[in-house]
Structure formats: structure tokens, C-alpha cells
Symmetry: C2
Amino acid sequence: MNISDFAKIAGVSKSAVSRYFNDGYLSNDKREKIEQAIEKTGYSPSLSARSVRTRVTKLVGVILPKLSSESAARVTEGISSVLSEYGYELLLVTTSNNYHKEIESLELFRQNRVDGVILLSTVFTDLHKTVLNKMRVPVILVGQNLKGYNCVCHDDFGASKSLTKLMLDKGAVEPAYIGVDPEDKAAGEARRKGFEKAVSEAGLTLKKEFIEIAEFNIDSGYEKARHLLSHRSKPDCIFCATDSIAAGAMLYCRESGLRIPEDIMIAAVGDSKIGKIAAVPITTAHLHYKTAGSEAAKMLLSAIKQPDLIPRILQLDFYIIERRSTEKSETV
Amino acid sequence: MNISDFAKIAGVSKSAVSRYFNDGYLSNDKREKIEQAIEKTGYSPSLSARSVRTRVTKLVGVILPKLSSESAARVTEGISSVLSEYGYELLLVTTSNNYHKEIESLELFRQNRVDGVILLSTVFTDLHKTVLNKMRVPVILVGQNLKGYNCVCHDDFGASKSLTKLMLDKGAVEPAYIGVDPEDKAAGEARRKGFEKAVSEAGLTLKKEFIEIAEFNIDSGYEKARHLLSHRSKPDCIFCATDSIAAGAMLYCRESGLRIPEDIMIAAVGDSKIGKIAAVPITTAHLHYKTAGSEAAKMLLSAIKQPDLIPRILQLDFYIIERRSTEKSETV
DNA sequence: CTGAAAGCGCTAACAA
DNA sequence: TTGTTAGCGCTTTCAG
């Protein structure tokens, strides 16, 4: 059933039908006829055909490393809530943390199909830059802070610094760090720098062997904690880049008989469910992931409406949630 | 830049270009010319225009309650992996557990835009039936077992029965249940029936006050456990429909001084991360969510290819993971 | 307010 | 193998 067939059934012209669906001028008489015919036939116009004419797809591409990460899921929910409100749909691509697939997807979205793109990437290479500059539709970066691009990001540095400082203020003097690949600007680099800043501001020196780089999961956190605790000198607090890593680290600490927080404190960034129900609930920093998603979507929609918008960076605040994993009386 | 402009630049005909992108007959000479021109211009054909002609969108609609549930995320990852392999893209809609939005999305997908739909729904109403029967593209249901429709589902009944039996075999005689809305056929109804079956097969009678219905989250599990334990007679094991609920229940049990598993055992369905790192790791049943997603995608692709395919139901097996929350010596 | 007609960018049937 | 040509279903002038 196409617009011509339908127009015939409704007893009106093609134009009238088109106007009905695009709120143009229309007499009530025709409007009613069309509504009745819709009732009868279930007709609805082809979005593809419409896109050919209007060059608008009402589709937004979302590229993310993986869905089964609480933070990515929350961002996506934020995006989705705003998008659906404005009649846009969400075209999802996951890249399994493979940034070549990220580039591929951008290429795929480059000229066609979508009106804009939201990219949750973790690394930023020259390849990214090249492709991004070739894009003909607006792109919003989530989670990264990159001059010259539209970004919605978190204060990873500040959150990490605050969490680390919190543990040092409670008397820790041998801080350890389990983070992720420093290629990852936000979760890797910025969080590490925040940690290091807090350590140096406290006048402490960092032991090289107290630095570990893990994957984004529990098992890796466990493994790295084991390695960390295999040295002769022991840390008295561990700052972890993510809650999952912290959960794994805690698992190992407890298995090896350490009491938390008495023997060793643990804190991590992210405020995911896992930190709340861990054996000892984990002190964490809440980053506003869902808000990041909805703000990114809003930013994208304005960029679509107004293509000459100048790039802007929106950094969202965080807050600290103290839990038992750092519950020690202060030692000024 | 459209196909005509591009053909001119490449020095070939429109047809040649079209054939290049749809692997028709083409001499190497033209192929090379076209490749060079692509290099120069970055041309790629408009997918919308193609869809108008071919009536194929290479888009699959996915409807799910919410992303921030580990199971939904895993299913979606499974779907995505297969889809991208076959050159399809994924149009995602989340319904926030509002089944009217589910219907709306189906309507939206009904005639247009997508080549098929995968629906992760929890309830199944007459409205669903009506809309489903009107669909012009194939639909696969994930997580539900419904005669007459294409389904990929889990053995919720079996998993629940096995978990409950496991606790009863270890000597529990006062079983309690914290489940979800029985409108939810799989997680609500089937899991409850599995629980009840194990209880009755063990020759036990179920106390009415040992049945609670919770939401799908930790806080609700906590709340319901509190209610459960407020009665004079106390249960000695709790079967929970989901890991999140179990995590919450465990939190309450421990706060009220109960030892797990000595005083009370806990088990739940789902094998999510949370159960692994809970204060006392939780015995669970692994359902193959990711596989369910990829199988659903495969089923959909064959239904797209072969529209007269007769409906089929694929039920995936589960396995039990015993953890400390039920670690009691058997009392036969 | 309305309808006829042109044309969006592409594919596919046809004749060469 | 190739190019010409007729649409796919829709929107949008334009003339009424």
C-alpha cells in the first residue's frame, strides 16, 4: 500500500495525504476522510521514501564499546530517553572495545542513514581525528574531553583525586593504584593523574610496584590485586579506576585474610551496583552517566538543527559516596 | 553527491556504479575507475534511496524493557554480534517496562523502516497478540515461550526447580520465595512454578506468608526480605527470582544478624556479576542470555529470508553454579 | 486550501 | 558486459 493507493481509497489526492502527515493546510473534511481510511487500512507512509526527499532520517547513530557495562548502559538510556521524546530513533553499534570498528562505524554513518552520531569512545587516535573531520553530520563525544569537538564528559581527574585524598586523610601512607590502559584518556589517564595528584599533594611518594594496569572486569581486578600484594612491602589503600576492578581486588584481599578497611582501604570510581553489595560496600564517586547521555542527545539535536553551532564541552560534576571500605576514624 | 554526479566523475554510467555496489557484471576497467573516484570523492550510495527501490532496509528493530539490566544487555550483545556479521544494523527502543510503549514501538516498526523485529517482552497481553498478528515483518520473541510464535527462551521452570531442590536437599524445610510480578510469564510465573514444584515434590507445604513479590532491583529485595523475616516463624532458605533481589535479601539478612548459609540459604536465577561478589557469593543458575540473543538474531535472519517459515520455539538449557550461599553439608 | 507534476537517489528490466 | 529508461513512494513547488 503506497500513498497513491491510499489516496484513492480515502477519496482524496496524494498531496492531501502528504499534508495530513506533515501538518500542512487541510480542510476538516479531508482530514476526517483520511483518518477513517487509516483506521481501515492501517496505512502509514514509508520512512525511507520520505528520507530520500527530505534528506532527514530521524535516526541517530550511537557507537559504544560494549553494552554489558553499567556505565555504557546508563549513558545509552539517557540518550534514548531524550531521542524518543523528539521522535528520533537510535541506531546502535557496539565495537567490543576495538577502535577500528569504531572508525568503521563512523565511516558507515558518515554520509548516510543517520542525522547525527553519538560516540562513546575511550581512546582517541589520529584516525579518529581524520574520520571525524570528514563527517557530514554532527558528532557528540561522550566521556572524553577534546578541544575542538562537542563533548559531554565527567570530572575523572577530580573524582579520583577526591577519593584518593579521602583515604590518605584517613591515615593511609602507602597508596596503591589499579587502573586501566592509559590510552583510555578518561578512565585510564585522567583517573591515574587524579590519584597521583592526591598522593603528591599529601607529600607522599608513590612506589612503582604499587601501580597495576587491569582490564575492565572483576577477574582482572582480582589478578592485579594478587600481584600487588605479592611484594614484600604492602599498600594500606588501593584506589581502583572502576568498581568492577575494586570488587575483584576486594575479593582477593579478603581471601588472603586482609581486613577491609582496617588493614587496607579500597575506593573506586563509578557508583555501580556491584560496589553497593560487595562484601564490604565500596566507597565510590558517582558520575552522572545517564545525565551525560541525555545531555549528549540534547547537544546533538541542537547541532542537527543548527549545523554551524560552535563546538562546546560540557563537564558534569560528581559526588562522593562514603561506604564501609574506607570507614576509618580520621588520623589527622 | 548522488549516483549521477559520481558516475560522471568516474567516467562511467550510473548502472556501472550501481553494479559496483551490488556486485553485478562489471569489467575490471570500470571497477578500477570507480574505485579511484571513490577514493577521491568519498562517495557512498544513499541507503534510504536504495531501500525505496529494494524494499529492504537492512535494519532490525529491537524492543526491550531497559538496558541497565545485565540480562537485557547480554541478549542485545548477542543480537548485535550476529546482526553486524550479516550487514544488518540494530534499531533500539527501550520501553522502561511500560508495555504500552512496547505496543507503540511494534506499531512503529509495523510497516516500515525495519526488516524484522526482536522483542524482549516480559508480559504478553491480548494487545500484543493483536499487534503481532498485524505485523508484516517477522518478529522473534526472546525470553517467552509462546505457542504459535517464533521464540527463543530459557528453562525458567527447570532452573528454579533445580535451585530450590538443591536447598531442600541440603536440609531446608521452611522455604521462602521472593519473586516478581506473575504477569511476567518467564521471570514471574515460570520461576515461581519451578519453586513450588520443588517444594511439593519434597513433600513440604509452603507457608503463605513466605511468598513475596518484589521489583527487579536490590532495594526491593532488601525490603521484601525484611517483610519476610518479620513473621513469627522464620524461613530457612530463600529462593529469589533474580540475583539483584537475592543481593538485596542477603543484605537484609546479614544486617539482621543471620548467618548465610548456616541460618538461612539463598539462591537465585541469572548468574549476574552481583551474585559473584556478594558478601556471601550466591548460588545461581546460568541462563545463556548472550546465546539467546544470537540465536534470536539467526532465527530472525532466516525468517526474513524465508517468510513462510513455520513458527518455532528454541529453549536453551541452563546450568547450576553452587556458591557459598548454599554451602551446607547434605542432610539426607 | 487543493491537485498535478516534477524529481529525491537509487535499482532493475530491457535492449543492445 | 553495458547504457537507457522506467519507476520505488514520497514531498513540494506551482498554478489554480
